[in-house]
């Protein structure tokens, strides 16, 4: 799997964490359970650093998709994009190459994340 995809998945995980604790209701729930959450600024700094390590064109695509769909990167299961639940063409896997290491769903445009094997 492309390094860019792995970094984008990490970025999305971070964004999700930041979003969750920025939601007052969710933060309250987690605090009630006894979890400390005082390092939001540290997370935001980690996000900036991580974003800097991602190829600009993919970062731009990620930010645009995240704004539009919430989740920019989605998994592929059973040859189906789990963002729009449309089947992927049969040629999909054979088209992955060093020249085109990041694939996007032809239907919804989301970045596709496949099982790393």
């Amino acid at each position: 799997m492309s390094d860019n995809v792995r970094l984008l998945v990490q970025l999305q995980d971070l964004d999700l964490m930041i979003r969750e604790i920025s939601d007052p209701e969710r933060a309250k729930e987690l605090k009630t359970l006894g979890f400390e959450m005082t390092g939001l600024e540290r997370l935001k700094t980690a996000r900036i650093n991580l974003a800097q390590s991602i190829e600009t064109r993919w970062l731009v695509i990620y930010e645009r998709l995240a704004k539009k769909h919430g989740r920019a990167v989605v998994p592929v299961e059973d040859k189906t994009c789990l963002g729009c639940f449309q089947g992927l063409p049969g040629s999909f896997y054979s088209e992955i190459s060093a020249h085109q290491p990041v694939k996007v769903c032809e239907n919804c445009g989301r970045i596709l994340y496949m099982l790393s094997r």
């Binding site: 998945v9 990490q10 999305q12 964490m17 094997r117």
Partner: protein, 156 residues
């Protein structure tokens, strides 16, 4: 939806005694119990998410217990890994005490049944009792460990 704690524990994801002596190594050792396949897509990404979560604030909730947790696209199903450490691990817990019992809980970003938070709550509730903690720490094997959870579940 009623959560049954024993449903989330598996012998393959039970480490009776951690080799790790620090937090990072403990998280790694626990994540390594997860088989790469349909349910876990990438262990390193999962580990990174858990490390970042610790940056946000320790998941050491005191009384010798830590519940590292988070959501990641690297996993497709809600999963728990449980581990014990007799000497204890510094998790920078809120009471500054070493952690002897760790419940790593990871979930995908979107999970239809929405069990992630209720499960965290159930784990936190489980370990509030000193009697239960003592029993979980002294359970001789996974079967004994699971039996304690069944017993607690049935008592509720």
């Amino acid at each position: 939806m009623q959560i049954r704690l024993p449903d989330f524990f598996e012998i393959e994801r039970f480490i009776p005694e951690l080799k790790a002596t620090n937090r990072d190594a403990a998280l790694r050792e626990m994540v390594e119990t997860l088989e790469i396949g349909q349910q876990v897509r990438d262990r390193e990404i999962l580990l990174e998410m858990l490390r970042q979560r610790e940056q946000l604030g320790s998941t050491g909730i005191g009384r010798g217990v830590a519940v590292p947790h988070g959501r990641s696209l690297a996993i497709s199903q809600l999963m728990v890994v449980v581990a014990r450490s007799t000497p204890g691990i510094d998790f920078e817990a809120m009471d500054s005490k070493p952690v002897h019992l760790i419940f790593l809980t990871a979930a995908p970003p979107q999970e239809r049944a929405n069990l992630y938070l209720p499960l965290l709550g159930k784990i936190v509730e489980l370990v509030k009792s000193a009697r239960v903690r003592k029993k979980l720490l002294s359970a001789r094997d996974f079967a004994a460990f699971a039996a304690i959870m069944i017993e607690v579940d049935d008592d509720e």
